[in-house]
């Protein structure tokens, strides 16, 4: 039996068995963490208001019989203002969905937790939430080790500075120069400046990331490319994108680039359905 305590962000919750709840966190100590909160449905007092999606909490756990049991949970930050701004709230959900699909369970990856925490703080107060989401996803892709070096053409090896125009395929991690590009809608056309900015972002501490400014016309294609990367990696459709398209009709990002990955139409939440007790 092992006891531990960690900071964590609530990703999803679902009913479990007769009176419990199964909660999935993004934790600082052990990546994605799933724990059972015993009696959480019967008594609202013990776990009042702590399992709301995107809340920052401190959670105490006990490992027993290959299950993680949540013994206590205290709320650190609820990010309440986000609930009154549907765009910010939906972007927080989108980031959670990507974390759910990409962060491994039980492996410590503190940097991704801190990125998530900072993303929520920035989303809460920044006036351009879409820009926050874009920077967070770029940083996340790089952190998870999926971002290519972005310093030369994959075919002719020419350096970034020698061509003004480039084509990037975030899902496959390919970068090619204008000379070697053949028309393919799954590539994003990028200027050298934007690529240099993305490269620079990987070398600076997280808190400085948010000051970077992407060119306005680059934002939508980049975001679309990053979402395709997620679809490609997980072979899943992104549920929250469908909702964002409904609540922000002007979004139109997921359709800007046609994903080349086969897409399985299954919500990530399915994992909540398993019951092994």
């Amino acid at each position: 039996m092992k006891r531990f305590e960690t900071d964590a962000i609530v990703l999803t919750t679902c009913d479990y068995g007769e009176s419990d709840r199964l909660v999935t966190f993004h934790s600082a100590a052990c990546g994605k963490l799933r724990g059972i909160a015993k009696g959480a449905r019967r008594s609202k007092k013990r776990f009042a208001n702590v399992f709301e999606p995107s809340s920052l909490v401190r959670v105490q756990c006990r490992e027993k019989n290959s299950f993680t049991w949540i013994e206590g949970c205290t709320l650190t930050q609820a990010y309440l203002p986000m609930r009154s701004d549907i765009e910010k709230w939906a972007y927080a959900a989108l980031f959670s969905e990507i974390v759910l699909g990409m962060v491994p369970e039980g492996e410590p990856l503190a940097a991704s937790f801190f990125l998530h925490k900072e993303t929520l703080q920035r989303l809460e107060r920044d006036k351009d939430p879409q820009h926050v989401l874009l920077l967070a996803l770029l940083r996340f892709q790089s952190l998870m080790g999926y971002m290519a070096a972005l310093d030369e053409c994959e075919i002719c090896r020419r350096a970034l500075k020698t061509s003004p125009k480039w084509f990037w395929h975030p899902a496959r991690g390919k970068l090619i120069c204008a000379d070697h590009f053949y028309p393919d809608r799954s590539y994003i056309a990028l200027d050298t400046g934007t690529l240099a900015l993305i490269q620079y972002m990987r070398t600076i501490p997280l808190e400085k990331t948010w000051r970077l400014r992407m060119r306005q016309e680059m934002k939508a294609p980049l975001l679309g490319g990053l979402l395709d990367w997620f679809r490609y990696q997980t072979r899943r459709e992104i549920q929250s994108v469908k909702v964002i398209e409904q609540i922000l009709p002007s979004w139109g990002i997921s359709s800007s680039i046609v994903g080349s990955a086969p897409v399985r139409h299954a919500p990530l939440q399915n994992e909540c359905r398993y019951r092994t007790l």
Binding site: S54, A90, P267
Partner: protein, 199 residues
């Protein structure tokens, strides 16, 4: 090895999928049904069949009903111009039992839930707007739960209702009656203080 005959274990498996039931309760219920008089079990089965055949949602408010329009929508005295918007029928019943609301309802049949792919089109929001054409609505009372999803849904409704004439109100947040401040969580206390009124 499963100790039960296939029919019984199949029933236990199906019962344990019902909300709030685990395998233990499901087994208990199955055993109870096995020992109950034939007529009780048959009448329960008939009830379940009838439920599927006869119960539908009200064409106005989406409350459950046996008729095309539910008893509340069919009652002219409830046409007060106030519509109380709730997430589900259970919430409607809770408010009805309190007797505090004299107007009509609108059951959304869910809340916005991005990770489940539930957006405005998956719940009864369009139908709420359609009611402005057929009813004289003076007030929309947003009574979704004070959870993250319920709150976001209420704010979304507030945002898209702003071009309509009706007054939009939100149920108050606070300490439950008979409650105790000492045992109240931080967020509820904060909201209760923010929502304080002149006494």
């Amino acid at each position: 090895m499963n100790p039960y005959p296939p029919v019984l274990s199949d029933l236990i498996r199906k019962l344990s999928r019902l909300p709030g039931l685990g395998e233990k309760s499901a087994t208990r219920i199955a055993m109870h049904l096995l020992k109950s008089p034939d007529k009780d079990v048959e009448s329960l089965a008939e009830n379940i069949r009838q439920l599927r055949a006869n119960i539908r949602t009200c064409s106005i408010c989406f409350n459950f009903t046996e008729d095309p329009v539910c008893a509340i929508c069919g009652d002219p005295a409830r046409n007060t111009g106030q519509i109380c918007v709730v997430e589900g029928t259970a919430d409607l019943l809770a408010i009805e039992q309190s007797g505090a609301h004299k107007g009509r309802y609108h059951v959304l049949q869910g809340v916005l839930a991005p990770l489940d792919g539930i957006g405005p089109e998956q719940i009864r929001i369009k139908e709420l707007f359609a009611r402005f054409k057929s009813e004289k609505i003076t007030e929309i009372i947003l009574a979704t739960n004070p959870s993250s999803e319920g709150e976001a849904t209420a704010h979304y409704l507030l945002q898209i209702l702003k071009d309509h004439d009706a007054r939009v109100t939100r149920i108050a947040y606070g300490i439950p009656m008979g409650g105790d401040l000492k045992y109240t969580d931080r967020i509820t206390l904060e909201r209760a203080l923010k929502g304080r009124q002149v006494f």
